[in-house]
């Protein structure tokens, strides 16, 4: 059974030199194992060993990040949020570990031929598509193109980060910069948000 602690008590007791450090780590570990099993189906299906492994990795990350706890929530909520990030990242990486980025992208491009895809596309959409392709080809960097296309193919960020050797922040910025450029260029060509919604039959986000 775990002991109830205030945020301050957690922070104090998780310091390695604190006399209650072992008990605090044991309680945090029990909480995270139970949380991961309860909330991530792949962890529940993977048995106790996977939950233990992910908890250990999470605890290392948490203990290295104690100074970053801002006190805007319960300590346990903060710890759970880190454990979810650590665990999902590892699960997503593992799924794509033996697959090359090139093969994932090639697979996507082979999935349907261009002629089949072009059938039934309206002229308006074809024109937007041409603008997007032009900007992608001429104004994005190789890395931005890779990130944009990989994200559209549904390749997880953790897997992409590993293959590109960058962190998730850098990856997000590459994607964000690409989106901003495409958005700006569409607007310069007269494609307002309203027009894009009309052409693609989608509701304007609020």
């Amino acid at each position: 059974m775990t002991t109830t602690r205030s945020n301050e008590e957690w922070l104090e007791q998780l310091r390695p030199d604190h006399p209650l450090s072992s008990a605090a780590y044991a309680d945090l570990s029990a909480l995270l194992v139970a949380s991961l099993k309860k909330s991530i189906p792949a962890v529940a299906a993977g048995g106790g060993a996977l939950a233990e492994d992910m908890t250990q990795e999470s605890i290392i990350r948490i203990s290295q990040s104690l100074d970053q706890f801002r006190g805007e929530s319960r300590f346990t909520t903060w710890a759970i949020s880190i454990a979810m990030r650590v665990t999902y990242s590892e699960l997503r990486r593992a799924k794509y570990r033996d697959v090359s980025l090139e093969s994932l992208q090639d697979e996507g491009f082979e999935a349907s031929s261009r002629n089949e895809e072009e059938a039934g596309i309206s002229e308006d959409r074809r024109q937007v598509f041409a603008v997007l392709n032009e900007v992608i080809a001429e104004e994005l960097t190789d890395r931005q193109r890779t990130v944009l296309q990989s994200e559209l193919e549904g390749i997880p960020q953790a897997a992409l980060c590993e293959k590109l050797g960058i962190n998730r922040n850098a990856l997000y910025k590459l994607g964000h910069d690409s989106r901003k450029k495409l958005q700006q260029r569409l607007k310069l060509r007269g494609y307002t948000d309203e027009k894009i919604c009309e052409i693609f039959g989608i509701n304007r986000p609020s």
């Binding site: 775990t2 109830t4 602690r5 309680d27 945090l28 029990a30 909480l31 139970a34 949380s35 991961l36 309860k38 909330s39 970053q68 805007e72 929530s73 319960r74 346990t76 909520t77 710890a79 759970i80 949020s81 979810m84 990030r85 999902y88 997503r92 992208q105 491009f109 349907s112 261009r114 895809e117 072009e118 596309i121 959409r125 598509f129 997007l132 392709n133 992608i136 080809a137 296309q149 559209l152 960020q157 953790a158 962190n167 998730r168 922040n169 997000y172 910025k173 964000h176 989106r179 901003k180 495409l182 958005q183 569409l186 948000d193 894009i196 919604c197 052409i199 693609f200 989608i202 986000p205």
Partner: protein, 81 residues
């Protein structure tokens, strides 16, 4: 490598959501614990979480992580308070 037609609609939707300032996934993770507790308690979400909620529309992976966080805190949070 050109864009595929089958991705055009998805990309159009994401571009409509794109803002000059967005949270990165790491910034989102720093902000999310307080948001998780509001979700669990059912309290009204303050305006200061607008960027966090916007990120959820752009990033399905953070949205998946949020769902797991809420489940965990809802069912287990009290045991380790």
């Amino acid at each position: 490598m050109p864009l595929q037609y089958r991705h055009a609609s998805t990309l159009a939707q994401v571009l409509l959501l794109t803002r000059p300032e967005e949270l990165t996934c790491d910034q989102w993770l720093e902000e999310v614990p307080g948001y998780v507790e509001l979700c669990v308690s059912g309290e009204q979400i303050p305006e200061r979480f607008a960027l966090l909620e916007h990120h959820l529309m752009i990033c399905p992976e953070c949205a998946e992580e949020l769902a797991a966080m809420v489940t965990a805190v809802k069912t287990l949070g009290d045991s380790g308070k």
